[in-house]
């Protein structure tokens, strides 16, 4: 009999706990990046680590993302297990050269001789009117690259298990974390555990339409599903959790069952990961679809700052509800009475 101790933990706590437990378990694990031990503690995800593990294993860096990524690669191939943190994916863009030209093919080009146990955490998600340079997601820019694993867990327990698995993985894993998820709470086991990468999850079973949600959009999808349920629409929500390698079957099976699919992404649609999902679903569910696959994502513009345009830019549960209505030929419901998520209830600036 295995007793499993649970307690409520939020998503940032789950990240912290996964890192802390792995650092305890394995002295080769370390975490670093701009602001990691100081400042905001990266939305609290690194709180307590420097106190517990010291400056050698939890440290700040110069604003040199390019070199610091190469640094992680070098440490990884020489026996350590680095976790590199970027407080925004927009800054990880400075690491593109190392990630695409180096990290992704070190194992392959050495005929499998070198392993690269490197985790790169990148924060995404909407903030306080942050504009074009602090709002990207760029999932597909990395899922496009062979040799990189890409994860984007949604729930705290998924996060803990998958980050643990990522840290133990001998390959580079990019972990996308939507900042609004840091507030999410649920029962999370206390002991360390792994959730294997490459395995998706049915977040909510349903039969009329499948929503494949990415990261935060799963939360919006759940809100949408609740609303739609009241109107008798049964929504299945699939969280791929790992974007590469993708648990394609889980998605395909679901869409074959429901015959309808909406992909809800928190990224641009054009050449986004939603395109890859749609392409695969269309290929594998050929003849089984009752309606065209629908993709939801950012508007195809740079992200504006002013709230009113930002609200147009970002999709949410409403967007999903209306997409489902459209797809099922239902009339658009009046959603005035519904309680949608607003980050303004959680924080008000300055970032």
């Amino acid at each position: 009999m295995q007793v499993c101790f649970m307690r409520k933990l939020d998503y940032s706590g789950a990240i912290r706990e996964a890192m802390s437990q792995e650092m305890e378990r394995d002295p080769r694990v370390f975490v670093y990046g701009i602001g990691v031990p100081t400042w905001s503690k990266i939305f609290n995800t690194t709180r307590g680590l420097v106190e517990k593990f010291g400056k050698e294993r939890c440290f700040d860096t110069p604003i040199s993302e390019d070199a610091m990524t190469g640094f992680g690669l070098g440490a990884a191939i020489r026996g350590l297990r680095p976790i590199h943190v970027h407080i925004r994916v927009d800054f990880m863009i400075l690491a593109t050269n190392q990630l695409l030209n180096m990290v992704s093919n070190y194992t392959y080009s050495t005929g499998g001789k070198l392993k690269v146990p490197l985790v790169v955490r990148a924060v995404i998600g909407r903030g306080w009117g942050q504009g074009a340079q602090h709002s990207k997601s760029l999932f597909s820019n990395f899922t496009h690259i062979p040799g990189l694993k890409v994860i984007a867990p949604t729930t705290p327990s998924d996060m803990k298990g998958m980050l643990t698995a990522a840290i133990r993985d001998d390959n580079p894993v990019i972990c996308f974390e939507h900042r609004w998820l840091y507030w999410a709470e649920e029962d999370v086991p206390e002991e360390p555990y792994e959730i294997p990468l490459g395995v998706g999850r049915i977040l909510r079973p349903g039969k009329d339409v499948t929503i494949v949600g990415l990261s935060w959009m799963n939360v919006e999808a759940r809100l949408a599903a609740d609303i739609l349920q009241k109107r008798g629409v049964s929504v299945e929500i699939i969280d791929p959790r790992t974007l590469a390698p993708l648990d394609e079957n889980l998605i395909i099976e679901s869409v074959k069952r429901t015959g309808r699919c909406i992909i809800a992404d928190c990224d641009w649609v054009d050449s986004g990961f939603s395109a890859e999902l749609s392409a695969r679903i269309n290929e594998k569910c050929f003849g089984r679809l009752k309606a065209p696959v629908k993709r939801i994502g950012f508007a195809h513009t740079p992200c504006p700052t002013v709230r009113e345009l930002e609200n147009e830019f970002y999709p949410n549960a409403k967007t999903i509800v209306h997409a489902v209505e459209d797809m099922l030929g239902l009339e658009a419901a009046n959603l005035d009475g519904e309680d949608f998520f607003s980050h303004e209830r959680r924080f008000r600036g300055p970032f």
Partner: protein, 342 residues
């Protein structure tokens, strides 16, 4: 007190010591006051949550862009970071468009699309501010190239923090500017910190200027905290840069009074000591010093106060206009992704 580190030593020191004429002193005071008071209004109104954009306040550092922009007398192309309220106002004096942008209005510098981190008035020489550290620096180099080629007589100025010198692109830009013989002004607003990480925890060099010099720039250092000193230094540096067609690097020590982002103080963060900051910086606040200087120029307290009141009134009016200006209509979201031919 100016510690010049380049060959322009003597000239600079003399210039810096000669008192500036009264008109310049007044001009600098006004510009400083404009920036300071504008930010005071931000502090006042920000909690109303109508300026929903991250605020990286210039407060305390205003004398750097104020001195430099005044020295270049409007003929600057300014490339600044997210911490660019002062740079924007020093260059444009345009509180209308400034506040409109912060309030996210159609009348703003980017019709609300840019916000605090992306201020732009290219017609007045304030190019787009940038929120990713050091990204604006190479852009300034390219603009200098264009200005030279087109003979505009404008000077390209990059403002950035000491943190930007951590970034490789800073060194690439410096090298390119020297290599292409472009009179770019690299102005480091050296407040000693990147957020709460001190320079010593990010840079191994003893001094930034020392590291910059071999790249082929003339380097200048200033820890006077004095707008007139910066003004003189910038004038000198710009003249030499144009004359020798060499980039200039100005390392101006300064102090950010407020937290990294936001309108509060950060004394409780523990990375710096309030008493020390007050002693070393706030006590010799550039605005205060400049105000005192006006008195020594025989300006009466009431004349100064009247000047202040006039500026204050203008700012209040700008805030008011901004608050009343229209919010962009939803269909503006898709406008302006590409430049449309006129």
């Amino acid at each position: 007190m100016v510690r010049p580190t380049s060959k322009t030593t003597t000239v600079t020191m003399i210039l810096a010591r000669e008192p500036l004429p009264k008109t310049t002193a007044v001009q600098l005071f006004k510009s400083l006051f404009l920036a300071r008071r504008s930010e005071e209004y931000i502090v006042k109104h920000y909690p109303e949550n109508q300026m929903r954009t991250p605020m990286h306040m210039s407060m305390g550092q205003e004398f750097v862009p104020v001195g430099v922009c005044a020295a270049l007398d409007g003929k600057a192309d300014v490339f600044a970071s997210y911490r660019s309220h002062a740079a924007f106002l020093a260059q444009t004096h345009d509180t209308d468009r400034f506040f409109s942008e912060l309030y996210g209005r159609t009348s703003g510098t980017g019709e609300g699309k840019g916000g605090s981190m992306h201020l732009a008035a290219p017609d007045q020489g304030h190019m787009l501010s940038s929120g990713v550290v050091a990204t604006q620096i190479p852009v300034a180099v390219g603009a200098a190239f264009a200005n030279l080629r087109l003979g505009t007589g404008r000077t390209s100025v990059a403002f950035f923090g000491d943190g930007a010198a951590d970034a490789g692109v800073f060194w690439e830009s410096l090298n390119s500017a020297a290599l292409f013989r472009l009179p770019v002004m690299f102005v480091c607003e050296d407040n000693g910190y990147a957020v709460d990480t001190p320079r010593e925890a990010r840079q191994a060099s003893r001094s930034l200027g020392e590291a910059v010099r071999p790249f082929g720039a003339d380097t200048y250092e200033d820890d006077s905290g004095d707008v007139e000193s910066v003004y003189s230094l910038a004038k000198e540096a710009a003249a030499k840069a144009h004359c020798d067609r060499r980039p200039a690097f100005l390392n101006i020590k300064c102090c950010r009074y407020l937290e990294h982002v936001g309108i509060g103080t950060d004394w409780n963060w523990g990375y710096r000591d309030q008493a020390t900051v007050e002693r070393d910086w706030i006590s010799r606040d550039a605005l205060k010093m400049q105000r005192a200087r006006l008195a020594s120029h025989q300006m009466s307290e009431s004349a100064i106060a009247a000047m202040e009141e006039e500026i204050d009134k203008a700012i209040r009016a700008s805030v008011q206009r901004a608050m009343e200006a229209p919010i962009p209509a939803p269909d503006r979201l898709h406008a302006g992704v590409f430049h449309e031919k006129a």
